[in-house]
Assembly symmetry: C2
Homo-oligomer: 588 residues x 2
C-alpha cells in the first residue's frame, strides 16, 4: 500500500483537507421561496392540517394554494421487486409545529410483511430558476424553490401557516412477496409529542409479475460518477476509507437503478470548466527519468472494487482518449512535479503516450479479469481527431472496445461498442439493427441542450420517468447522463451552477438523500423492464392481440408526444395504465 498512498499524497498537493473550504456543510437551513405565487385560495383550505395523496406531476410551491382534491386513500399497482414512488402533501392553513412522517409495514389479512427499503420522508425545497438550456445563466435570474430533494427518513420540519410540505413515500415491494392486495399507512405526527397529525392509506396491489434484480435489468443506465465532489464536500482524502464510506449511498443508489458503468478517469480533468470539482486521475502516469511512461493503477483498482462491491461492475468506462483540452497530466520523476503534455490525437507524442497507457492498462485489466468489460471513451471532437485516436488505440491494443457520446458519424457506427446520441437524434434503422446484432450498445442522452423533457431541477417531475421509456421505445438500449453527482458549492440548498440549467449537474443530495428526479428515473427504468418482459412473455405465448396492445401503448411515447395538453405526466400515466392491463393479461 505504499505506492497508492504516495500517489494519493501527490495528487492532493495543493488541497488542504481538514479545514472547511466553504459553507456547504453549515447547519442546514431550507431556502425560503421568495417568489410571488397565487395564495388566493387558502381560505377554502382552513381547518386542521391535512394529508392527501397527489399525482406528483408538478412541483408544489410551498406557499401557493395547492390545487389538489383531498385523497387520503389510494391504490397503486405494482410488480414484485418494484420500487414505488408516491407523493403525498401536507396542507396546513393554520401551520403546525415540527412534523415527521412514517410508513407502516405492508399489511395483509391482519399480518405485517416487511418491505426493507420502504420509507416515508419529507421533501425539501431547493433553489432553482426557469433557465432550461446551455450556456451561462445570468446570476440575476429570478429564483424559486422546488421540492426536489427527498430528505432522510425521520427528519422533521415545522409547517408555516398557509403552506404545504410534500412527502415522498418509497415502497420496495419484496421480490418474493405473495401476490395480492396489501395496505400501508402513512402517518404524519408531531415530532415533539408523537401525536398523530394526519394519516393516509395506501393499497398496493401486487401482481404476480416479477421485476428482475436491478443488476439483471437489460436497460443500460449510465450515470457518470464524480467521486471528487464527495471528497470535497466532506473534506475527506480522496480514496480514503472515509471517502468510500461517504460514496457508499450513491453507489447503492446507482446499483438500485440498474447502473452498468463505472466511470474510470485515466487523466486529470477531462471536461474543464463544466466540472465544479476537478477530476483527479485514477491512474498515476509517471514519466521516468529515462523518459519512459509508467502507470500506477491502485486508485483505479480501489474504485472498481468499491463499485463492484456495491453491485455496479458490468462496464469500466475509461475517460477519455479525446478530452476537451488535448493535454494530459503526468508526474515527471526527474523533477518530482506535475506536468502536462499537450498533443493532438495522431501526433507522435500522443501515439507514444496512449500506446503506453493502453497497453499497460490492458495488461493490468487482463490480470484483474476486467479487460473484457473495459471501454475507452472519446469525447465528441472533430472526426479526424476521433479517427486518429481510434487508430492509435486499435494499433496499440487491437480489438480494444471504444465508446463515444456525441454526434452521428457514419465512419464510427460500425466500430464503437457504445454509441450515445442526444435525444432528438436517431440511428438509421439498418444501423441500429446491425449494431444490436453485433452486441453493440446504442444509448440516448439528455443534457442542457434538451430543454424538455429533461432532468433539471425545474423539469416536470414526470420527465424523469419519461426519458428511460422513451429511449427504450425508440430503439435505444439505455440512457446516459453526464453528471450523477457533480455537486454545486451548496448542493443541499442551491441547484444552480455557473453553467447549464439548474440541477443538470446532479441527481442526488448529500448524506445519501435521493431526489424526485432519481426516483422517477428509476420508475421509468422499471417501466422499460416491464415492456421488455411483457413483450418476451407475449411472444412466447404467441399472443398477438397482447402484442398489438403493447405496440399501441408505446405509440405516444414513440412519437415523442409532449405538448401543453398532453404533457409527459399524461403520457407516462397512460403508459402505466396500459402496462397494468397487459401485466394482468400476462399474469393469467
Amino acid at each position: 500500500m505504499k505506492k497508492p498512498i504516495l500517489f494519493l499524497a501527490m495528487i492532493l498537493a495543493g488541497a488542504t483537507y481538514g479545514a472547511a473550504k466553504d459553507q456547504s456543510r453549515d447547519p442546514y437551513t431550507e431556502p425560503a421561496d421568495t417568489a410571488t405565487v397565487d395564495t388566493s385560495g387558502w381560505a377554502a383550505l382552513s381547518g386542521p392540517t391535512r394529508l392527501t395523496w397527489t399525482p406528483g406531476d408538478k412541483h408544489y410551491r410551498q406557499f401557493a394554494t395547492p390545487e389538489v382534491t383531498q385523497c387520503s386513500d389510494t391504490i397503486v399497482n405494482a410488480w414484485r421487486g418494484e420500487r414505488l414512488g408516491l407523493e403525498a402533501l401536507l396542507i396546513s392553513h393554520e401551520g403546525c409545529g415540527p412534523v415527521k412522517v412514517s410508513l407502516s409495514p405492508l399489511q395483509r389479512a391482519g399480518k405485517s410483511v416487511a418491505a426493507p427499503g420502504s420509507q416515508a420522508s419529507l421533501m425539501r425545497y431547493v433553489i432553482t430558476t426557469a433557465y432550461n438550456t446551455c450556456g451561462y445563466p445570468s446570476a440575476d435570474l429570478p429564483t424559486y424553490t422546488v421540492p426536489d430533494m427527498i430528505d432522510l427518513p425521520g427528519t422533521d420540519a415545522a409547517i408555516p401557516a398557509k403552506s404545504v410540505r410534500p412527502v415522498w413515500v418509497t415502497v420496495e415491494v419484496p421480490r418474493d412477496i405473495a401476490p395480492g392486495d396489501y395496505t400501508m399507512t402513512l402517518t404524519a405526527s408531531a415530532a415533539s409529542t408523537g401525536k398523530t397529525v394526519a394519516t393516509a392509506r395506501l393499497q398496493v396491489n401486487v401482481a404476480p409479475n416479477t421485476l428482475p434484480a436491478p443488476k439483471d435489468y437489460a436497460f443500460y443506465l449510465d450515470m457518470w460518477q464524480q467521486p471528487y465532489a464527495i471528497s470535497r464536500y466532506y473534506d475527506v482524502e480522496p480514496w480514503s476509507d472515509a471517502h468510500l464510506e461517504k460514496m457508499a449511498p450513491y453507489a447503492d443508489m446507482l446499483a438500485r437503478a440498474g447502473q452498468k458503468a463505472v466511470s474510470v478517469i485515466l487523466f486529470y480533468e477531462p471536461w474543464g470548466e463544466q466540472s465544479n470539482d476537478k477530476f483527479e486521475p485514477m491512474v498515476e502516469t509517471v514519466r521516468t527519468k529515462d523518459g519512459k511512461w509508467k502507470f500506477d493503477f491502485s486508485v483505479l483498482d480501489r474504485y472498481v472494487k468499491f463499485m463492484a462491491d456495491h453491485g455496479v461492475d458490468e462496464v469500466l468506462e475509461c475517460f477519455t482518449m479525446v478530452p476537451w483540452q488535448p493535454q494530459y497530466r503526468y508526474r515527471d520523476a526527474a523533477t518530482d512535479s506535475l506536468k502536462f503534455i499537450e498533443c493532438k490525437p495522431g501526433s507522435p507524442e500522443y501515439k507514444e503516450l496512449w500506446t503506453a497507457m493502453l497497453q499497460s492498462l490492458t495488461s493490468h485489466l487482463k490480470q484483474k479479469g476486467w479487460y473484457d468489460k473495459t471501454e475507452i471513451v472519446m469525447d465528441e471532437r472533430g472526426l479526424p481527431d476521433m479517427l486518429a485516436a481510434l487508430n492509435v488505440a486499435q494499433t496499440a491494443v487491437p480489438g480494444l472496445k471504444m465508446a463515444l457520446a456525441g454526434n452521428y458519424h457514419k465512419e464510427l457506427v460500425d466500430t464503437l461498442q457504445s454509441y450515445t446520441m442526444i435525444k432528438g437524434e436517431f440511428f438509421p434503422e439498418s444501423v441500429l439493427n446491425k449494431r444490436r446484432a453485433k452486441g453493440q450498445r446504442s444509448i440516448l442522452y439528455t443534457c442542457c441542450a434538451t430543454p424538455a423533457p429533461s432532468q433539471f431541477s425545474n423539469s416536470a417531475p414526470a420527465d424523469g420517468a419519461y426519458l428511460p421509456v422513451y429511449a427504450t421505445a425508440t430503439g435505444f438500449d439505455g440512457y446516459l447522463h453526464w453528471s450523477f453527482n457533480n455537486w454545486t458549492d451548496h448542493p443541499m440548498t442551491d441547484t444552480r451552477f455557473h453553467m447549464f440549467a439548474p440541477g443538470d449537474t446532479y441527481f442526488v443530495y448529500p448524506d445519501g438523500r435521493t431526489s424526485v428526479r432519481y426516483e422517477r428515473m428509476v420508475e421509468g427504468i422499471q417501466m422499460s423492464e416491464k415492456i421488455r418482459l411483457l413483450r418476451e412473455e407475449l411472444e412466447n405465448r404467441q399472443d398477438l392481440a397482447g402484442l398489438q396492445l403493447l405496440e399501441q401503448a408505446l405509440l405516444p411515447i414513440r412519437t415523442g408526444a409532449m405538448t401543453s395538453y398532453y404533457p409527459t405526466s399524461a403520457v407516462v400515466s397512460d403508459l402505466h395504465k396500459s402496462l397494468d392491463v397487459i401485466s394482468r393479461r400476462v399474469a393469467q
Copy 2:
C-alpha cells in the same frame, strides 16, 4: 337554369372575363437558373448525352454537375394497382437539340401488356427560394429553380451544354395484371428526327399483392380545392362548362390520390389575404325584401356532382362557420347589391343567419341524399367563438357534423367528426382511441409552420412520401393540406407567393400537369395503404413475427427520425424495403 346564371352573373360583377388579366398564359418560357452552382465536375461527364436512373431524392439543379452513378437498368417492386413514380436524368456535356421521352408498354415473355396512365415526361424547372416558414418573404430573396413540375407527355426541350434534364416516369401497374417480372424501356429521342438519343431499362417486379382502387383507400386525404384559381387562370366563367373542363384533370388527380373531401364554400372568401384568388361562395345568400334569408344551392350542386363524377364524394366539407373575418356576404334584394353582415359567433345576427343557412342547407342536402356526408368546418379562432358556433349549429340542426383544422381543445375532441392538427401535435392516446371508436376522424396537416418535412417546392422530394406515412404510423387517419391548387400569378414558372414558403399554395400545375410533390404524396398514401393491408393480413394469419417486423419497420417514421444523416429519403427508402420484405412474406 335561370337562377344560377343570374347568380353567376352577379358574383362575377367587377371581373371582366375574356380579356387577359396578366401574363400567366403568355407563351411558356422555362425559367433559367441564375444561381451559382458547382460546375467543376462536368469534364468527367464528357461524351454523348446520357440517360440514367436516379434515386430522385434531391432536386437536380440544371447546370450543376450531377452526382449520380450511371444506371441505365433498374428494378422496382410494385403491388398490382400501384402508381410508381421514377426519376431519370438526361446528362449532356455537349448539349443537344430538342429531346422528347417515351415509355414502352410493360413487356413480359415477348408480349406487351397495356398499362394505361403510364407515361414518361420531361420535368420542368420552376422558381423557388430557400424560404421555409410563414410570414411575408422578402421579394429580394435569392431565387433558384427546381424541377418540381412534371410536363405533359410528348413535350420536348433542348438541352444546353453542361446541363441536366430530369425525366419523370409514371407506371400505373394494372390492378388485374399477372404477378411477375416485367420490363419497360424509357427512350429519349430527338424531337425533330425521332432518332434515339439514349435509353434506360426498367424492370417492374409485380407482387401478387393488390392495392385497392383509390376510392377504397382507407387513408383520408383532404386537399382543399380552389376552383377560382382555375377560372381566373383560364379566364373562363366560373361554373361554366369550360371551367369544369379545365378543372377535370385536377379532380382526376385528386381522385387518383384517394381524395375524400369536396371543398364547399358557403360564404365569400373564408381566408382573406392568403387566397390569391378570392373564393366566391357556392351558395347564394339573399336577404329578401321582407328581411328573410334565402339560399340558392345550384353552384354547390354543380360542383358536388362534378367532383362525384370524377370519383370524389365521400365528404362535403363546408367552409366555414368561423372564418378569418367575422363577416358574411349576401345579396340584398331590396337594393340588388352585395353587402356584408359582420357578426360575432353567438350574436343574435350570427344566430339568425347561420340557423337559416344550416337549416336550409340541411333540407337541401337531405333532398339530395348528401346530408350524411356533410361536415361544417370552423377555422381556428378563440375557443369561445368556436363553442358559440358549435352551439348555434347544434341548436339549428341537432347532430350536424362539425370539423376543425386547428389547435387541440379538450372541449371539442368529443364532438368534432373531423379534427385536424398540425404535425408535431398529438392527440392523447385515450382521446385518439375514443374518437376512432366513435368513427371520428383525426387528421394531420402541414403548412408554412412546418419547415421540414413539408410540401414546399424547396422541400426534399421524399418529404411528400414521408408525410402521409408519418400520419398513418403515428395514429392519424389521414393528411390535410389547405391548398391543392391555389395558383400564384404565374403558376407555370414561379411558385413564390407574397406569403408563405414557395409552393406551399399549390401541388399541381396548369393544363393538368402534376408535380414531384403530388407524385410522391401518392407514393406515401400507397405506402400507408400497404401498411394497413399488410397488418390486416398478418393479423388474419396470426403471424406474430411478421407483425413485429412491421412494427419495427415503422419505428423510424414513428419517432419522426429526420436528421442530416438520416433524411426523409433514407427513412422512406428503408420503409419501402421493409414493406417489400413483408409483402413477399404475405404473398407466400
